[in-house]
């Protein structure tokens, strides 16, 4: 079968998106890593040891602990969206694996519910952003576009199974091909093409947008620092230079 221009375009798009996503993230993580914290600023009460602090960050990442005590409704919406997204992502792993891992196979039916939870969470987040005056005040156009992009990904995803009946075997062959640096044909179905274009856009935007909260939370000094300033000095290299002067 001949390879259409569309398939080639999407192949190049995904290589580029992956490169930008990974390269951009590596660059930002490197930047965060290299930037020192000259002072201990853990928000207390804080764990006094490094493993304790790591656990604190893990609780924030997995349970959204601070948000839970901050705004219960927002926590529900955010949890629905993020947990739903995580399930949907796991479900999509099957497009890259042959044979499919047992856990991924088992997660398949839940992936659908994940997608629904994600869409529901996103729609609530969007409504909240428009309705609450405080949140509307701090909303930039990009904040709305980001939500719309994610909603677009969700809707086009469901659209494929509902209206188009996309040939998933072919889609899988396309992505398995990309993994082996071969370009194989992609079904030309508008919901699929929309879905994939939106996902690629999200990957490209990731390192340049507020989506950096994903790596960023691991570098938030108020959360990741152990509270031990009386026990240990905490001198940043640039601050140590001040000591040489005087």
């Amino acid at each position: 079968m001949a390879i259409s221009g569309v398939s080639t375009f999407y192949a190049v798009l995904f290589y580029a998106a992956t490169a930008i996503f990974l390269g951009g993230l590596a660059w930002k993580i490197g930047q965060y890593w290299r930037t020192p914290s000259p002072l201990k600023i853990a928000v207390t009460p804080a764990p006094v040891s490094a493993p304790g602090a790591a656990l604190r960050v893990a609780r924030e990442v997995v349970l959204f602990e601070s948000l839970f005590f901050s705004s219960r409704w927002l926590w529900i919406m955010a949890a629905l969206f993020h947990a739903g997204l995580a399930l949907a992502l796991v479900r999509h792993l099957r497009y890259f694996q042959d044979p499919v891992w047992e856990p991924v196979a088992l997660a398949q039916p839940f992936g659908i519910y994940g997608g629904l939870a994600m869409l529901g969470g996103l729609l609530m987040l969007l409504a909240r952003r428009l309705v609450i005056d405080r949140v509307r005040f701090v909303t930039a156009p990009s904040d709305l576009l980001m939500l719309l992009l994610l909603i677009g990904i969700g809707i086009s995803g469901f659209g494929m199974s509902a209206m188009a009946r996309v040939d998933v075997v072919m889609v899988k062959a396309f992505f398995r091909g990309l993994l082996m640096f071969q370009i194989r044909p992609l079904p030309i179905d508008p919901p699929l093409l929309l879905h994939l274009a939106a996902v690629a856009a999200l990957m490209i935007l990731f390192p340049f947008s507020k989506l950096l909260h994903l790596p960023g939370i691991f570098f938030s000094p108020t959360r990741h620092q152990a509270d031990n300033p009386r026990e240990a000095r905490h001198l940043a290299p640039w601050a140590a230079k001040l000591e040489e002067k005087s």
Binding site: P36, I41, T44, S66, S70, V135, R233
Partner: protein, 499 residues
């Protein structure tokens, strides 16, 4: 103070309510700008430099490389608004720029414009904005409506700390010649004389002698207030307001009685006669370090074995969390004790060991509640365990007073509300802001006054004490309600009978 609009306290709400936003409500609130005479002693330009915009951007770039907090926090805010209703200044004023996220955005928009690809390419679409004169005025106004209390950082899902952003913004403004008079004038006094009030050694000595006489008269005891005594065991560093402001000074008398009864030799230093460190408020590591080094020098000169801090919130933050880093290592001190210690660590220890005895009946006429100072609550500990910063003051208060009541749990411990005067805002021209910023705290106070008959508010910070005595009357409460924790200890301590 200067004649201005009449200051009116907002009506207190029975339940914590979130106001509707009122854009621009506090746009006119700003502190006096530092004159040349306040700027230059700190090495800052005397007036707004002609090329201030370029210099501000360059300074921001420098700080981005120096502070991970700034670098990460400017990137990762998702504008979820979870922090929006957590700031006492927003709750008290309704000005949306006092929502922590919107305050950060004043700097973040400029960061986006100059330091991110998205901001350079998409501009306003991603909220990027240039640094204009109008924007600079907003910075000056709203970064001086943040008391750096970090309540927002408790509730943000990523721990974004608006205090870090405010500090950076103030540091940038100082570097282009638009500093805040109140803080910078005070810092210059510390460099020159040793304390925020500019009390020279002779005046300090006089004051302390006067206190010795007062205590002798009231209790018949020879309680000493030693100054610059070489070889004392403990160097006490306390906020200079403790030397004569009310009720601060009663706290100082309390510390002296504790040392006296416990039989622990101590001294104050005229060279390091200030626990407060306003270098933190203006975000300057260098200024903060210079002030901290005075304490190191005093400890070395006086050959003490321990350093102990008196009651003050931000002072304890700088002492507990930064002193070791800024002015350490303190290997010349007695290694059996943490450096530095809080006076409450000593007092609580003495109560438990029986080295001092308290007679709670002395405070039987009071129903006491406590205000957790923001800096103590959210940036420090007192003992080895996390949370000891809440336990120690309460242990002491319960040992000194028969009737103790806590305020609503959403307003105590790490969720405490700032008094409204911290972070370099304790100046008369900001009184309107300070009164409004105290609203959430006063609401919680009102609740326990009405439900439990609370008569006194114990405070553990010089700024909180000054702020509350000033603003409580606007809400119809007597300034005499405010007491120092160690004032209650001083009332209750049994003098004379050494154990």
């Amino acid at each position: 103070m200067a004649a201005g609009p009449k200051i009116e306290a907002p009506t207190l709400d029975a339940l914590p309510t979130v106001p509707a936003i009122d854009p621009g409500a506090m746009a006119a609130s700003k502190p006096y700008v530092a004159a040349k005479a306040h700027q230059e002693p700190l090495g800052f330009p005397g007036e707004l430099l002609p090329d201030w915009e370029a210099r501000a951007i360059a300074k921001l770039g420098e700080l981005l490389g120096k502070y991970r907090s700034l670098r990460v926090y400017l990137d990762i805010c998702v504008k979820c608004g979870a922090c929006a209703d957590k700031c006492h200044f927003f709750l008290g004023t309704g000005d949306p720029r006092n929502m922590p996220v919107a305050r950060q955005d004043l700097l973040r928009d400029v960061y986006r414009r100059h330091f991110t690809l998205a901001g350079k390419v998409f501009g306003g679409l991603v909220g990027a904005a240039p640094l204009t004169r109008e924007r600079l005025d907003q910075w000056y106004s709203y970064f001086h409506q943040c008391s750096q209390c970090r309540r927002c950082a408790v509730f943000c899902p990523y721990g974004i700390d608006t205090a870090e952003i405010s500090m950076a913004a103030r540091e940038i403004m100082d570097s282009i010649g638009i500093g805040q008079k109140y803080s910078n004038e005070i810092i210059a006094k510390v460099h020159k004389i040793g304390n925020n009030l500019g009390l020279p050694q002779p005046a300090l000595e006089d004051t302390l002698l006067g206190l010795e006489e007062d205590v002798k008269e009231a209790s018949g005891q020879d309680v000493k207030f030693p100054l610059d005594v070489e070889g004392a065991e403990v160097l006490l560093v306390t906020p200079s307001a403790d030397f004569f402001a009310e009720p601060h000074v009663d706290g100082l008398i309390g510390y002296a009685k504790v040392f006296h009864q416990a039989g622990l030799s101590w001294t104050l230093s005229s060279y390091a006669s200030e626990a407060g460190n306003f270098g933190m408020f203006i975000g300057s590591y260098e200024q903060m370090r210079k002030i901290a080094l005075r304490i190191r020098k005093a400890a070395l000169d006086l050959k003490v074995k321990r350093i102990v801090f008196g009651e003050c919130g931000h002072a304890w933050r700088v002492a507990y969390a930064f002193l070791n880093t800024l002015a350490g290592p303190f290997d010349f001190l007695d290694p059996r004790y943490p450096v530095p210690q809080h006076i409450m660590e000593l007092t609580r220890g003495f109560i438990r060991s029986g080295a001092i005895r308290l007679d709670r009946d002395a405070n039987a006429d009071k129903v006491v509640t406590v205000h957790d100072s923001c800096n103590i609550a959210r940036a420090t500990r007192m003992g080895p365990e996390p949370g000891s910063q809440f336990v120690y003051p309460r242990d002491i208060l319960k040992a000194a007073c028969p009737k103790f009541v806590d305020m609503h749990p959403d307003t105590t411990h790490e969720r405490t509300f700032c008094c409204g005067g911290g972070g370099g805002l304790l100046t008369d021209e900001l009184l309107d802001l300070r009164v409004k910023g105290a609203k959430p705290r006063v609401e919680a106070l009102k609740q326990v006054v009405e439900s439990h008959g609370v008569t006194h508010l114990a405070a553990m910070c010089a700024i909180c004490k000054s702020q509350f005595t000033k603003v409580l009357p606007y809400y119809g409460y007597d300034m005499g309600m405010v007491v120092s924790v160690h004032q209650l200890v001083g009332n209750a301590i049994r003098m004379g009978e050494h154990s």
